[in-house]
């Protein structure tokens, strides 16, 4: 049977076909749909959202040790969080198969950097598999599980946004029968005391040599021979672009990306007059190949190391390298792009919080989530964003070097706080930092499309469960002042924030309004502007609500009055609260108007 599947759907299907027993993840674009699909379509697999990638990875390790094939998925920067267990699990090896997906985001469609995680495979000295379409994404999960068990190693399956989110046709297979493996209390293998770890490191080195031999014969690395003098070494999505541009040129297609089959590559290089490497982002293949003595092999100087490749970029690179005579043609003259920058939704509870923070001229350290959009003008009320959970540590450091004259506020969401903000807050208490932390609790992981968290009361598999009590948790860390506010109540938020920012010692403010989109779309009675009362002061424009737009009518002949788009207004009332002339009122039902 054939189906059109995205790369992520294909990995989920692959997990099912490979007899996976356990899957764990923290949501992150572009990886999120893998676990969502497993939970929705394959109930035989235990699937969970973990609080962060490190925990997900450790749960997966436990699953493997316990004897069931385990899959862990995350976005590229999630591997940074999970790097600690990864580096040592590479030593112990597995019991049942263990595969983790790193979904990289070249071009940073939805990320803060575009690190190339293929280096992690080399760093941890574990095998790396790189699919180039959905069929391979599915099939490689099973192959990766088999390699994991045969060589006693975790295996990395490296996706990219273009592979994860593109759809292509996939031939489905039946699931394999996998027998459960008993956990053997082999402490020399699983307890990484120095004496044991030294012995395991030897195994890692030996294993890598065996994997290199395996790579030489793996069908995942194949040569497509057309008898040309030019040869191209490529893998992942870049393979598709090379085939698009030069369908009849000799290609060494890499699917097993570490360790590389250097003997086979050497033969390929020797058999061609000229060999180029086409790979997205960093020169992973190129460096290894050139370090092995094949110094005539080139690549990055023609194709670049930033952003996504594309058929056009590959064609341009080939032209630059003198392989394609003609530069790719340019068609119609591009128009000036009309930007549609992402903005906080109408009715978003974060808007009230940022309106107050802007008014108070606070320095705000930010974090990863929808609220990062608080940085966009006209709000412009968020000033840093590094990585998950960084806001609190950043605020502490800033306050320690600058003193408390200019108050610093850390802003992070509920899911991000649970992911890695708790330890930062512990530090603020422990080291007596005069910062205010806002936990913007909108009761969901909103940015990635609405996933449950340990504080929402539901699991990924839809069961009811305990939910974290933020107030109790924060109090237990030793925070003496913990306040809860409705962030869309302007005066209350302003008053509370003034007090807390002036208070010595760490304080925490928790906002309590749920996301306006998820799990339920909030739509109250919309508001409207009484134009004759509007004085054109523009205060409502400055809250950056997409439902408010300038009227054609002008105040004092030059200042545009405001109007509200009733189809987008959710009736959150924030604009009405800050309108001095009280020109913004609840929209009257149509029949009353006449």
């Amino acid at each position: 049977m054939k189906e059109l599947l995205s790369g992520n759907e294909a990995v989920a299907r692959g997990a099912f076909e490979a007899g996976v027993k356990l899957a764990a993840a923290y949501p992150g674009t572009p990886s999120t749909e893998i676990l969502e699909n497993i939970a929705a379509r394959f109930p035989s697999i235990y699937a969970e959202w973990s609080p962060n990638e490190k925990v997900a990875f450790e749960v997966g390790i436990g699953g493997s040790m316990g004897g069931g094939r385990s899959l862990v998925t995350m976005k590229h920067v999630g591997v940074n969080v999970a790097a600690d267990p990864l580096m040592t699990f590479a030593y112990t090896g597995v019991n049942a198969g263990f595969v983790f997906v790193s979904a990289d985001d070249p071009e940073m469609h939805s990320s803060q950097n575009e690190q190339d995680n293929r280096f992690f495979a080399k760093f941890a000295q574990i095998p790396l598999l790189e699919p180039s379409d959905s069929q391979e994404s599915k099939d490689m999960v099973r192959t990766a599980m088999e390699i994991s068990e045969e060589f006693d190693t975790p295996v990395m399956l490296r996706m990219t946004t273009r592979i994860s989110h593109s759809k292509s046709v996939v031939e489905l297979n039946d699931p394999v029968e996998v027998s459960h493996k008993q956990f053997d209390r082999d402490v020399a293998k699983y307890v990484m005391l120095p004496a044991h770890a030294r012995l395991r490191h030897t195994k890692v080195v030996e294993r890598l040599a065996k994997l290199a031999e395996y790579a030489e014969n793996s069908p995942l690395n194949r040569i497509e021979d057309y008898g040309t003098k030019i040869g191209i070494i490529t893998g992942g999505i870049s393979y598709q672009y090379v085939k698009e541009i030069m369908p009849d040129t000799d290609v060494f297609k890499i699917g097993f990306g570490f360790p590389l089959p250097l003997k086979k590559i050497k033969k390929f290089v020797e058999a061609h007059e000229r060999v180029l490497v086409v790979e997205e982002l960093e020169p992973h293949y190129e460096e290894i190949i050139r370090a092995a003595g094949m110094t005539s092999v080139r690549g990055k100087e023609f194709f670049g190391r930033e952003g996504e490749l594309s058929p056009r970029r590959v064609a341009e690179g080939m032209h630059k390298a003198g392989i394609l005579e003609k530069a790719p043609e340019i068609g119609f003259k591009p128009a000036e792009l009309f930007p549609r920058p992402p903005v906080l939704c109408p009715g978003c509870p974060h808007r009230g919080m940022f309106t107050v923070l802007k008014k108070l001229k606070a320095t705000v350290t930010g974090d990863i989530g929808c609220y990062t959009l608080g940085t966009v003008e006209p709000l412009g009320a968020l000033h840093t964003c590094i990585c998950m959970g960084a806001s609190i540590g950043n605020a502490i450091g800033m306050e320690k070097v600058n003193g408390s004259k200019e108050p610093v506020v850390a802003v992070l969401g509920d899911s991000t706080f649970l992911h890695s903000g708790i330890t930062g807050l512990m530090d603020a208490v422990y080291n007596k930092s005069n910062i205010t932390t806002i936990i913007a609790d909108n009761r969901i992981t909103a940015m990635t499309g609405g996933q449950q968290t340990p504080a929402t009361g539901y699991t990924l598999m839809g069961e009811e469960t305990q939910s974290v009590d933020f107030v109790k948790l924060v109090e237990a860390l030793g925070v003496e002042s913990v306040r809860t506010i409705d962030p869309l109540n302007y005066e209350e938020t302003l008053a509370v924030m003034k007090e807390e920012m002036a208070r010595p010692g760490p304080s925490v403010v928790i906002t309590t309004r749920p996301c306006v989109l998820m799990p339920r779309r909030v739509m109250d009675v919309p508001y409207e502007v009484i134009l004759e009362d509007c004085n054109g002061c523009s205060a409502c424009f400055r809250i950056g609500c997409p439902a408010i737009f300038p009227s054609k009518e002008l105040a004092k002949g030059k200042f545009p009055k405001a109007e509200i788009d009733a189809t987008h207004c959710t009736g959150c009332t924030l604009c009405a609260q800050i309108c001095r002339p009280e020109a913004i009122v609840m929209k009257q039902p149509a029949e009353k108007v006449k």
Binding site: L4, S310, P311, G331, A335, P342, V343, L517
Partner: protein, 199 residues
């Protein structure tokens, strides 16, 4: 359809049904026995951003993204988005564009304003444009969200599958309670396309 690859670029704004249109197109292609790849990047787009989808149909498709400047058809559900995508169109390609104008509030404050007449700008570059008052047609049918199906229907003769293949795709992929409405929208678009082909 011949052996060539057909490249269809769909442009619109979050919430306009770009993804459903690309799913319908892919389904029609698979049922007709072709290889299909489609690609769109989602991430921050649910918040009113630009959404575009690349669909490629042929005997064997490699790249999931259309080579720049080689789209045979651009379906644009919005005027400025159609203009923004013009450089993806092949010199012999066709633009099927809805009269819809979605002006985001940022355009009222920022330095860049919404283009005065995007369709006129497109026509300065190519005559191969079909402007459809899809918004009006959709509203007359009772649902603004039918713009995608109407536009797909107008483009369908240039893509080239049997009419019933499209209708089966709608029955399979559209939510049951909206199937009839979408079939009606498709039918109206298809008739309009017929008159365009003759003209």
């Amino acid at each position: 359809m011949d052996n060539q690859i057909k490249n269809i670029f769909i442009a619109g704004v979050g919430g306009q049904g770009v993804l459903l249109a690309s799913e319908l197109l892919s389904e029609a292609a698979i049922v007709s026995g072709y290889d299909v790849k489609k690609s769109e990047v989602h991430g921050m787009s649910q918040r009113g951003g630009v959404v575009s989808s690349h669909v490629r149909i042929g005997k064997k498709v490699f790249s999931p993204i259309i080579p720049y400047g080689q789209a045979d058809i651009i379906l644009s559900f919005e005027q400025a988005e159609g203009l923004g995508a013009i450089d993806w169109l092949s010199p012999t390609g066709k633009m099927v564009i809805s009269s819809t104008r979605l002006v985001p509030p940022s355009a009222n404050f920022g330095k860049l304003s919404y283009p005065e007449d995007p369709v006129a700008e497109i026509r300065k570059r190519t005559d191969n444009v079909i402007l459809v008052d899809a918004e009006k047609m959709a509203l007359e049918l009772g649902n603004i969200r039918l713009v995608n199906t109407i536009l797909l229907a107008v483009a369908s003769p240039f893509i080239g599958f049997e009419r019933n293949v499209w209708e089966e795709a709608i029955k399979k992929l559209v939510k049951p309670k909206y199937v009839d409405l979408n079939l009606k929208a498709f039918s109206q678009g298809y008739e309009l396309a017929g008159s365009e082909v003759k003209a």
